[in-house]
Symmetry: C2
Amino acid sequence: MRPLSDQSPETLRASLAVLQERYAVLKGRGLKLDMTRGKPAPEQLDLSEGLLALPGNRDHFTEAGEDARNYGGIQGLAEVRRLFSGVLGAPPEQIAVGNNSSLALMHDCLVYALLKGVPGGAGPWSREGEIRFLCPVPGYDRHFALCETYGIIMERVPMTPDGPDMGAVEDRVRDPRVKGMWCVPQYSNPGGETYADDTVERLAGMRTGAPDFRLFWDNAYALHHLTEHRPVLRNVLEAAAAAGQPERPFVFASTSKVTLAGAGLAFFAASPANLRWYLANVGKRSIGPDKLNQLRHARFLAQEGALDRLMESHRRLLAPKFKAVTDTLERHLAGTGAARWTIPQGGYFILLEVPEGCASRVVELAAGCGLAMTPAGATHPYGRDPQDRTLRLAPSYPSLAEVEAAAEVIALCTLLAATEARIRQAR
Amino acid sequence: MRPLSDQSPETLRASLAVLQERYAVLKGRGLKLDMTRGKPAPEQLDLSEGLLALPGNRDHFTEAGEDARNYGGIQGLAEVRRLFSGVLGAPPEQIAVGNNSSLALMHDCLVYALLKGVPGGAGPWSREGEIRFLCPVPGYDRHFALCETYGIIMERVPMTPDGPDMGAVEDRVRDPRVKGMWCVPQYSNPGGETYADDTVERLAGMRTGAPDFRLFWDNAYALHHLTEHRPVLRNVLEAAAAAGQPERPFVFASTSKVTLAGAGLAFFAASPANLRWYLANVGKRSIGPDKLNQLRHARFLAQEGALDRLMESHRRLLAPKFKAVTDTLERHLAGTGAARWTIPQGGYFILLEVPEGCASRVVELAAGCGLAMTPAGATHPYGRDPQDRTLRLAPSYPSLAEVEAAAEVIALCTLLAATEARIRQAR
């Protein structure tokens, strides 16, 4: 297809008429599709069906001989910490297991930092006046929402294929008001980038103005490959320790997209000093996590290789959906210049970049055909994409047939919005 | 037995020698007993054995047809909110269900108040300089620990058989720095008092200096009767609404001592405005609670009367342990003036008052015989009991035989410490 930019106003207007006709047809189909969130599909949750009847009657003792039904055990079961030690890149003694949401652990770390301060700091962050976090963009809206709700100023830094633009990061962290940074280091949400070794090492070792600066290292997609390729992410805890900054990373992960999205386990891993700090605070908040759910997971994933086999089953369900989207975009949009998109090697999202000023129009058009998309701007701090061009596609939840239909809608709406924009510009 | 105070120095010294001999014998038995915490016994946890294999295969849909395995459902399942509506004294729509710890919900409400403020307030409590909470004493150490960790000044108010001394409370809440108050309104921890209707009404309606004052209403023992007597606690949400203070109470409860201590459900109930506030904040923290555990509880407690039958079974296990302690204390201490103790009608604790200056000595002596007791002072803010006379006994966890042995130790150590003190005073 010829780029829209090379087409005459007459051709564009003719195309628009055709696209509008196709849009009317799609609208008439009365679709009801949802691509807003990175939710696992029911078929994926079925892979962990075994959890639903576990641990089973009379099985409630941990390997340490403790009764998992009772209070206590604030750090979580040793057998579970061992099982996820590789994923977290930390020895079991530097890991804590929480309930069902790693976002909650990030929230709580932020709250403890605001109200109590962190090891190596001068006290509660909330007493230091204005504080700031660096936010690679595009990024994850729920990270941004935590900063926004607690009045932490967000500063954007651009993403590159190797992770955040380290020149910009190193420049900005000299400011002592910059206390932290959000990182999704592998298969980043939503761009899919995995941080290069050099990026991880620079983040781990860079000079920061704040002595108590923290990397909020949300390794949500450590196991979530979509291809045969297996990137090896540099271990941030090791890199930070080697650089003399052992307290810098707070590492988070969860089994929300491994076992059950609403009933998985969340993990925190960090230096011994950070872990002691975390446990001291979390031990005030609660008498212990749900250890029965930990035992359930330990039983379910006990067999050698069970975790890898589970993730391979997820991949077989997810990869065709991602391919359906990118193939459809390719078929309708290649050569038009109306969009660029990622072909992710892992994670849960496809990033779609449309011409400037068109993202919210695409979402609006899609909604008109019954397709709910993540709101335009959601990938940016404060929900504001200054160029209105970034869209996040989440193909995991709908069925393959629905994903195919949704991709058709997205491709058409993108082309329609881009053609409208081109016509406006040509005036 | 004659009161120690009536005994001559010679008699006291003779008694001391006998008591020391008995102490040496007890010490020689090499006991290893733990009465520190209000933990359910394994037999109590066995009552909820059915939960361990629930919800069971292919059963993961809520009554609303939602998949309990996936993300979402921040308020919790309607069927669970309905089931506990009576316990909380609130309609299901004014209830939220959290994960396994009501202490965590109290913590989070405190954190949201500190960092964001509450409905009707002028902003974050943390920006108001020094703030204060009223703490009825004796009280619950984990409540006090939350205030202490976040720098909230604790002010003691005395307990009476009808609840907190309302004269003292009404006087102190005129101070606008007083932002909240801890209340365990039924079978109070540790004194066992149930607040009188008049107390609840005065708490609900009293004039407070702070417009955003909150009652942290920890109704932990609503169902935890030890006798046939069933007190009817005045509904604080209704009393507050009737008094024109609908936003005043934050009500908390959990199934930690109903089903499984480490894997139960926690509840928050409040006015519609407070509930919206809570959900808005908790919705930033997490994408939703563990709904599968909610479904598990809904299935387990589905039968009409199941909750009452379960609590009756708890009572049958617990009441003999409480009786063993109070009978033993009666047998050894009646008439000596060495102690007073409660005969609780519900809850998890016996309060033991020893002569001034003796509580920490009793704990020390008991430890010498292999009995771990709750530290002296734990029932007071900052862990400091100025009179060093209050002890909390927690007979739920050990077996009946162990409880009997522990009660013998406590009676002996109390008599020994009181005799020592009397001899010192007589000098």
